[in-house]
Amino acid sequence: MENTTAAPAAVNPKRKAVFGLVHTALFAALIAGGTFIAIPLPFSPVPIVLQNFFALLSGLVLGPFLGAAAVALYLLAGALGAPIFAGAAGGFVQFLQPSGGFLWGYLLGAIAAGLITGCPVARRNVSRIRIAAAAVAGLLLVYIPGIIQLKFVLDIGWAGAATAGFLPFIIGDAVKGAAAVLITPRLRRIVSDQVHG
């Protein structure tokens, strides 16, 4: 492991802006790439996806602003028709689907995770515990809009919404969270190095 002394303080503002654009685009692309793995469940309109993993990673690695920007960009591209929502679906009508609330949830999750870990340029090293806390918060917040929309679109009770929209994903999300915690420090270091030049 590379031991770290203080990173140089000055950051070239132009470089920061350029990398802001590129990193946002990159993480949006990673979230989109996750579309290739979507496992449907027999009893729920919500599939198991890889996208909440990458959305979480956006927040953990890029911090609240760019993390949110990456998710927003992903949502925009999907709304415009690129087939990048779960199971290669596309178009803004996906926001009206039963599972559409989770799309807003990605945004919320990324912001929450990013607020806890902070911007990688200012804070190059963040403790594992903090990252783990951020991951848990980021994963859970996805469900708030997700379950609310599920309940009202399907017109079912809260218990039903939780059964269809929360319980089946606990184990999978735990694995994704663990993986995210493992690779976040490495990726944050790269982002910070790149922006510092």
């Binding site: 590379e2 031991n3 770290t4 002394t5 203080a6 990173a7 140089p8 000055a10 070239n12 132009k14 470089r15 190059r124 190095d193 510092h196 030049g197």
Partner: protein, 251 residues
């Protein structure tokens, strides 16, 4: 004496892990000169040029472009300086070879960007591959495209990082021709390479980097006369055998 276009003052780069990759490097580059920078793997050649081009920031020191801090005129700097990256893959931006070669001139707002791209692709022997995706090219073809994409920009100064790697002999000759015509047009050329025997005849000056220090700078013959083994450079005037190994020439 020709005008100094770039001036590197006391450039030091210390990475977060404590690695001092450059140690107080001073280097002036004169308009119209052909400069070769050599030195062992990891000596800091690429890093120094990235700093010169504003792609990386030094920990200490400053870069003057036409006697003013380089940060002050980025747009002018961009159209003035072309950089052939060591990793050709990293440089490809277009979806087709033709588009990639036209990328630079288009961005700089040059007229006839397509024609410029076409000419430089021809100069690098890629005219048959114009419709290919750059990612489908062979290693040497990628290098050719990297060179062509920068030649098309018509910059006053061109940096080439390992331009001969992966090239076949006709490719080497094409790069040498390109360097020759840049020189004839009075442009500044900086070449980073390990293959001195191929290009040293073109050079006005040879600079040796070693562990982030400049160990020699001057007329090629003079610098070569003071070569030390730790610089990792084979004197191209000596046979391969004399340089310490059994290769074709001593068998």
């Amino acid at each position: 004496m020709a005008e100094t276009v770039f001036s590197l003052r006391n450039i030091t780069k210390i990475f977060p892990n404590g690695n001092r990759a450059l140690n107080g490097v001073n280097l002036d580059i004169a308009a119209g000169e052909c400069l070769i920078i050599a030195g062992s793997n990891g000596s800091g050649k690429t890093l120094l040029m990235r700093i010169l081009a504003g792609l990386s920031d030094p920990t200490e020191g400053e870069i003057l472009f036409k006697n003013r801090p380089a940060g002050q005129h980025t747009r002018e700097l961009r159209s003035f300086l072309g950089f052939v990256f060591q990793d050709a893959d990293a440089q490809m931006l277009g979806e087709t070879v033709a588009e990639d070669a036209a990328f630079g001139p288009k961005n700089l707002g040059l007229s006839a960007a397509g024609q410029r791209a076409e000419d430089s692709l021809k100069a690098m022997g890629l005219e048959d591959k114009k419709a290919y995706s750059p990612r489908r090219l062979s290693g040497g073809e990628k290098r050719r495209l990297a060179v062509a994409g920068v030649l098309a920009m018509g910059c006053e100064t061109v940096i080439m990082d390992e331009p001969f790697a992966n090239l076949d002999w006709p490719g080497v000759v094409q790069v040498l021709e390109a360097i020759r015509s840049l020189k004839e047009a009075g442009k500044t050329v900086i070449i980073l390479t390990h293959e001195l025997e191929k290009v040293l005849a073109m050079a006005d000056r040879l600079v040796i980097l070693d562990k982030g220090h400049i160990r020699g700078s001057g007329r090629p013959e003079e610098v070569l006369d003071r070569l030390k083994p730790e610089y990792g450079i084979r004197d191209p005037r000596k046979s391969y055998a004399a340089a310490g190994d059994c290769t074709w020439l001593d068998r």
